[in-house]
């Protein structure tokens, strides 16, 4: 038994060594399990689709095969460190990820020590890229998103009182609530903010509170699971205020929850289906062929914003590799600030912090009859 095992392991080693020739490795630093597992998988799908669309890249005159190396950070800060280390020890040239800002910040130190650049895909917390030169990001930031939502609520919905609800201990929720509050109060509105403890199932008291405070809009930039429960309970209580959310709410699970109810759900997101026909059709065709990918997308072929971002991030990484002319992570890091790319989610170029310059977010809402996302407007903040 031991001999067989040893033989198999050696063979694996030899095979992987043989496959290593002329291969450039891109690390996928995403949660596949834990609280953000679903979102992380959808983001990874974008990269996988991009990878099977463009399998090779020309670096310094040589054609390289691109290999995606996965490390599951399990949405957990302790495991993020070792997941990051695993990617670094496999010798990746550049890292993509992660869904969730907390794990990105936790893994950041490891990438920094190994001089490996990382491209954040949908981690929106300013702290991911602030004060370092190795973390980049292709999406917009929380201050921007909070301002967009506050503007939309105040100007488009015409409301003056907002109720904010975030999960206690979740920096994403609390950060977005803070920025929303700043912007909304700056416009002249009133904001009430509350937090709920982790694993809360019953949100009726918060919904009742919001009504008692005569809030006209309910802002809850929470994880998908909570959002689904909030929408269901708002519906059964017959609440009339619209529910506003950030990019996390852009999920088919949320739209399914709002289907058949009278709850109005409005979210800001990175990408709106229909913005790029080729990408939409290609991705859907790929999902139809690959059963596993379909499962990871939540069982249907609605395109999540994070998938489009993962797709763009992959191409940004390829551009950086081309510009670097080498697979050396250090060279890639030096080449990244100058990289520009026109992706399906818009034009991407980096500012001096390493953040993509983004001035537009898509606002969309759920059609309560069909359960589909409908495009509302493009909100721009200068």
């Amino acid at each position: 038994m031991k001999k067989v095992l040893a033989l198999v392991l050696t063979m694996l080693l030899v095979l992987s060594a043989a496959a290593m020739a002329e291969t450039v490795k891109i690390g996928v630093f995403e949660p596949a399990t834990g609280a953000n597992g679903a979102g992380g998988k959808q983001e990874t799908l974008g990269m996988q689709y991009a990878n099977q669309e463009t399998k090779t890249v020309e670096i310094g005159g040589t054609e390289y095969d691109v290999e995606l190396v996965y490390a599951d950070n399990a949405s957990d800060n302790t495991q993020a460190t070792s997941a990051a280390q695993k990617l670094v020890s496999e010798g990746v040239s550049v890292v993509l990820g992660s869904y969730g800002s907390g794990v990105s910040i936790a893994g950041s130190e490891t990438f920094k020590n190994a001089d490996t650049p990382a491209i954040g895909v949908t981690c929106t917390n300013p702290q991911v890229t602030a004060g370092n030169s190795h973390y980049f990001r292709v999406c917009f930031l929380d201050p921007f998103q909070g301002t967009v939502l506050a503007n939309y609520a105040y100007k488009e919905l015409g409301v003056t009182t907002a109720y904010c609800l975030g999960e206690l201990g979740n920096d994403y929720d609390q950060g977005l609530v803070t920025y929303f509050k700043q912007a909304f109060e700056g416009l002249g509105g009133t904001v009430f903010a509350e937090s709920f403890p982790k694993d809360t199932q019953d949100f009726t008291s918060y919904l009742t509170n919001a009504e008692a405070l005569s809030a006209e809009v309910f802002f809850c930039p929470v994880s998908i699971d909570y959002a689904v429960k909030i929408i269901e309970q708002a519906s059964s209580q017959g609440k009339t205020f619209p529910i506003l959310g950030g990019d996390t709410l852009d999920s088919n699970m949320v739209s399914n929850a709002a289907k058949g109810t009278s709850v109005k759900v409005v979210v800001t997101t990175f990408y709106q289906e229909g913005a790029n026909e080729t990408f939409d059709n290609g991705f859907k065709a790929w999902l139809a062929e690959d059963a596993e990918a379909l499962t990871n997308n939540g069982g249907n072929d609605i395109i999540a914003g994070v998938t489009a971002m993962g797709y763009d991030a992959y191409y940004v990484a390829l551009e950086a590799l081309k510009a670097a002319g080498s697979t050396d992570p250090k060279a890639v890091m030096e080449a990244l600030p100058a990289v520009t790319y026109d992706g399906v989610s818009g034009h991407i170029e980096f500012d001096e912090t390493g953040d993509a310059v983004r001035t537009t977010a898509y606002v969309k809402t759920v059609n309560n009859e069909t359960g589909d996302w409908e495009f509302v407007t493009e909100q721009t903040v200068g």
Binding site: V8, S82, A106, Q174, T178
Partner: protein, 374 residues
Amino acid sequence: MKDLTRKKIDSATIITGAIVIAVLLASFIAEQFMPATSMLFTVLKKSATYALVAVSMNLLNGFTGIFSLGQAGFMLLGAYTYGIFTIPVAERMNVYQYYNGGLVQFVVPWYVAMLLAGLVAAFFAFLIGLPVLRLKSDYLAIASLGFAEIIRALFQWDKLGPITNGSNMLRLFPSFNDFNIRNASGEVVVYLDTLVPLLITTLCVGIIVLLINSTFGRALKAIRDDEIAAEAMGIRLASHKRLAFCVSSFFAGVGGAMLAMYQATVQANGFTTIMTYEILLIVVIGGIGSVTGSCLSAFLFVAASEWWLRFLDQKQMLGNFEVPLLRNGFRRVVFSIIIMVVVLFFRRGIMGTKELPDLIRGFKNRRRKEAASK
């Protein structure tokens, strides 16, 4: 009659010491010559941290017979204390971005902060020990578990934000990597980032071992075996238990500070009950009542979950044959099965209640017997 009160330093103890020193030396040498990106060092750092916390838990569960599940809470206290007092003042505006740079505007050296981390945890242990230690077995476990949850929620409360940074993470404090000695141009000359955590753990575990083998430690074992008998022999139950609880929490606090250094970030969200269970699992797998076992299983646990089994998350090809089942998340399944097998078939853990010197002595005795029978 043999003198039971004073143990002589026998050769087995010396060999054990030599093994520990050899391990430290080996890791130091490996660190200098192996690539710094190797997973081995990450695993060693994390397992050093977990080993310390597991041994501190073992002091309660294995040697005193107090079933406490508050370890994550005490680690959180330690990690936050360390973080709060060591973030450079210049970086505080960045870290406490929503709280105007926070309240604390000074730093202390890392070793002072680490000591403080232990003391804060021990102080809280003293406070909650007053009511909680009156409880027994399951009730004590429930109360300490509740304590850990309350502490976590308290640290996330935004009214305490100027100190704890609320729901946001603490970062930018000195981590293990800052122990590396660098030359003027920033290149690492001597790697110490793995040796230092190992040394801290060795020192702390050494203190705990001395404590276990002292009069106090024997009193704890007496309490574990039979409280009434121990009391009848003149051991003060309340004060012994309280002291054991505080000492255990002190080292859990130090372990928390080490975890903060390992992660380079601290966020209250991570210190969940699951973390306590992980440590309990390490204690059980290693053997309840064995310090050696806790250290060994901490390494095995971390290495298996973070390193050796990671390949299960990736599709593997054998020629043209794709190995079935291997994909993201499968590692967790295999890991759970391994744990179940261990718990089912090695109920007393790897070491039972034996320590490394016991094994060496046993080995010697066997050889002596063999020699005698010839």
